[in-house]
């Protein structure tokens, strides 16, 4: 087995992993960094982010506003000290990206421009046309090339962490082009493997977004926190799930039902606005908009498309071709190529689809997990920024703010500890190799990976959708237990070594099943409605409301070998914002004024 001795190992080459790698390299050029990614870094799913990254920019804005938008948006399940740190670092890190060459869109006078985004009181979303994630990712990847201490392991698939003497000491990877195993030793390990949206059926995520890092940490005893909170995005392409960014609405697009009626005014987001107005109508938060879609469907006011199913429409016709081409070029092209329609002339059929994993590996305010030496950042982590519902454009900023912090912390840790015992690390790595190889070499299996994957995704959609009940969630929990058992009996067609994606897909499915279980079990355990977790049941409908007495708590899922996860509840850090009613539109404005009045 090939061995590489690094100081800091980073698993994940998306925005978060790259930012961390650069931070380590800048903090001490003598530290050896191993950057592991199962795809070339610029293929990471950060590439797909369209809308932009939030950070205070305008003189009329303030850290406090950003803080309150985030905490209220998260339905008070955010770690408030983390949010305070975040909002202050955000503009610094976004400026850093500018210095590295990120082509942020500009105003006529040459400054970085900002746009409106859902749930944000003031325009503060930095954007690079509608390819913000693409530009951030390529800027970070290209900048990372400047640092000789970053050694990349591209197209290396991480199969396990190595734990010894009570701390993490490295990872084991499969080099995809050869099928050979590598041991990468490290004094600290940062996990930055992205979200887990692919456990659901209709989603905006790329094929690689399978929750690998979450499952790895989870199996080593680290809690996965708040996994029941999965964000639905209200404007996705039906069937494929591809995303029409929130910026479509930030730029002034409308959502209408089959009668051409702007239905959001019926769901506490009104009154009607002609121009985009922050926190009103189409610029309400995502959970509310997705829920409104669900109700429209119940009322029979969605359009029943013969092949696409139930849809509502995104109307951008009034914005005109020139404006759309300039501000939303990617969206324009996607509508043309994937749907064969012209957004300047036609309505775009859309519906809600799975988009973002709010929960993740539980880490503290310094990104450290409970296993010493282990850090987690980005969508795979739960640092406590998003609470029960993430505000659009906070997560791209999260990548760079916490990527930098984790890089600094992991570098410090690596310098403080001594290297481990290489021979016992190797022994562990060899055992891992045998275990993973067995999955491929075993014979006589009858279950198909594709079938299990499909059943899992369907069951997650059925049980952990926009609205949930005890029965449907229980059915999903049972189904997942069944699939876990059936997984033991899978068959893999491809027995070769070079580029064996059949085998790696099976490893991914194994991760996905773990992650799916933590979601379903955390969900059924939360007997209230908050943010993205909405229930329709309970005695006298008790669970349809938020319950701060019993559930102003994080859910924490712990691994139990060969069984369902154990769910515990953890405290929420509250510094300056006490839970209130979460209101948008005119009601929200009124609540804001009342709050201000009572503070004076």
């Amino acid at each position: 087995m090939e061995i590489f001795k690094a100081d800091v190992v980073i698993v994940g080459g998306g925005g978060a992993g790259l930012r961390a790698a650069i931070a380590v390299a800048e903090s001490d050029p003598l530290l050896k960094i191993a950057l592991v990614s199962k795809v070339y870094p610029m293929r990471s799913h950060t590439v797909a982010a369209e809308g932009g990254a939030a950070g205070v920019k305008k003189s009329t804005d303030s850290y406090d506003y950003h803080f309150h938008d985030t905490v209220g948006g998260g339905d008070w399940l955010c770690e408030q000290d983390v949010v305070e740190y975040f909002v202050k670092q955000a503009p610094i890190e976004l400026t850093q990206l500018e210095h590295w060459g990120c082509p942020w869109s500009r105003t006529e006078d040459g400054h970085v421009n900002v746009r409106a985004f859902g749930g944000m009181k003031i325009e503060r979303t930095w954007f690079a046309a509608d390819k913000s994630g693409f530009h951030i990712l390529h800027t970070l990847f290209q900048t990372s090339i400047k640092y000789p201490s970053i050694k990349r392991f591209d197209e290396h698939f991480c199969v396990d962490l190595i734990e010894e003497d009570g701390r993490v000491q490295g990872v084991v990877t499969i080099e995809m082009s050869t099928g050979e195993f590598h041991l990468i030793e490290g004094k600290s390990v940062i996990i930055a493997t992205g979200g887990a949206g692919r456990v659901f059926r209709e989603n905006t995520n790329g094929g690689i977004v399978t929750g690998d890092g979450m499952a790895l940490a989870y199996r080593h005893g680290v809690a996965l926190r708040d996994m029941e909170f999965m964000q639905y995005h209200p404007t996705c392409m039906p069937v494929t799930g591809l995303l029409f960014t929130e910026a479509c609405r930030g730029e002034g697009g409308f959502l209408v039902n089959k009668d051409g009626y702007r239905y959001l005014q019926d769901y506490g987001l009104g009154p009607l606005q002609d121009k985009p107005k922050n926190k009103y109508m189409e610029l309400g938060p995502r959970d509310r908009l997705s829920q409104a879609f669900w109700y429209e469907k119940q009322k029979g006011r969605t359009f029943e498309h013969p092949t696409l199913g139930s849809v509502v429409f995104l109307d951008m016709r009034h914005l005109g071709e020139a404006h759309l081409r300039e501000r939303l070029p990617l969206i324009y092209e996607m509508a043309e190529t994937f749907m064969g329609l012209d957004p300047a002339k036609e309505l775009i059929p859309v519906r809600a689809g799975i988009h973002y994993t709010m929960g993740g590996i539980k880490v503290d305010a310094k990104c450290a997990a409970s296993l010493p030496g282990l850090y987690a950042i980005g969508e795979c982590a739960s640092v406590g920024l998003h609470g029960a519902n993430r505000l659009g454009s906070n997560s791209l900023t999260e990548l760079v703010v916490f990527g930098k912090l984790a890089g600094d912390e992991a570098a410090k840790y690596a310098k403080a500890v001594s290297p481990g015992n290489s021979s016992s690390l190797l022994k562990q790595a060899q055992a891992i190799e045998q275990r993973i190889l067995a999955l491929k070499t075993k014979t006589g299996g009858t279950e198909s990976i594709a079938v299990i994957r499909k059943e899992m995704a369907q069951s997650m959609e059925d049980g952990c959708g926009i609205y949930r009940t005890e029965d449907t969630m229980q059915a999903t929990c049972d189904k997942l237990a069944e699939l876990r058992a059936r997984f033991k009996n899978i068959s893999i067609d491809d027995k070769s070594s070079v580029w064996n994606t059949d085998w790696l897909t099976a490893v991914e499915l194994d991760y996905q099943l773990d992650v799916a279980q933590t979601m379903a079990h955390s969900a059924i355990n939360r007997k209230e409605s908050r943010g993205a977790h909405q229930r329709l049941d309970g005695p006298d409908g008790a669970y349809t409301k938020r319950d701060d007495v019993n559930f102003l708590k994080h859910s924490e899922a712990y691994y139990v070998a060969d069984g369902a996860p154990r769910i515990a509840l953890g405290d929420v850090k509250i510094t300056k914002s006490q839970p209130e009613t979460r209101a948008y539109g005119a009601a929200g404005e009124k609540a804001d004024q009342e709050r201000k009045a009572s503070h004076v």
């Binding site: 050869t178 070769s496 070594s497 070079v498």
Partner: protein, 132 residues
Amino acid sequence: MSKRKPYVRSMDGWWKKNPYFVEYMIHESTALFVAAYCLVLLVGVIRLGQGEAAWNGWLAAMQSPLSVLCHLVLLAGAVYHTYSWFKILPITMPPVIVGGKKMAPEALTGTALAVAAAAGLALLALVWRIAL
């Protein structure tokens, strides 16, 4: 030992594999037509230097039916070369900014072709006048 065995495909006959490449090869080969005509003219210049008899002989040869046919073929080649050369012009030069906007490739090719046609006609008119 790694089990990799990357397979490198042969480039033989690459230009036949795609209509675009065929067109490219035709474009490149019509450069030969232009070169051939240059040779013809060069011979004329040499003949001119060798005295009047040589020059008249060359002029006579130029008027033979075979030579006229040859000229037509060469002209066709040269015209095609010009046309296809201007078609790729937009990608071979820095962007032309007109009124703050980048000029569209079609417009650029169109302009270049128009200028070439005008220059050709002007030259023709000039030569025609001298000949008369």
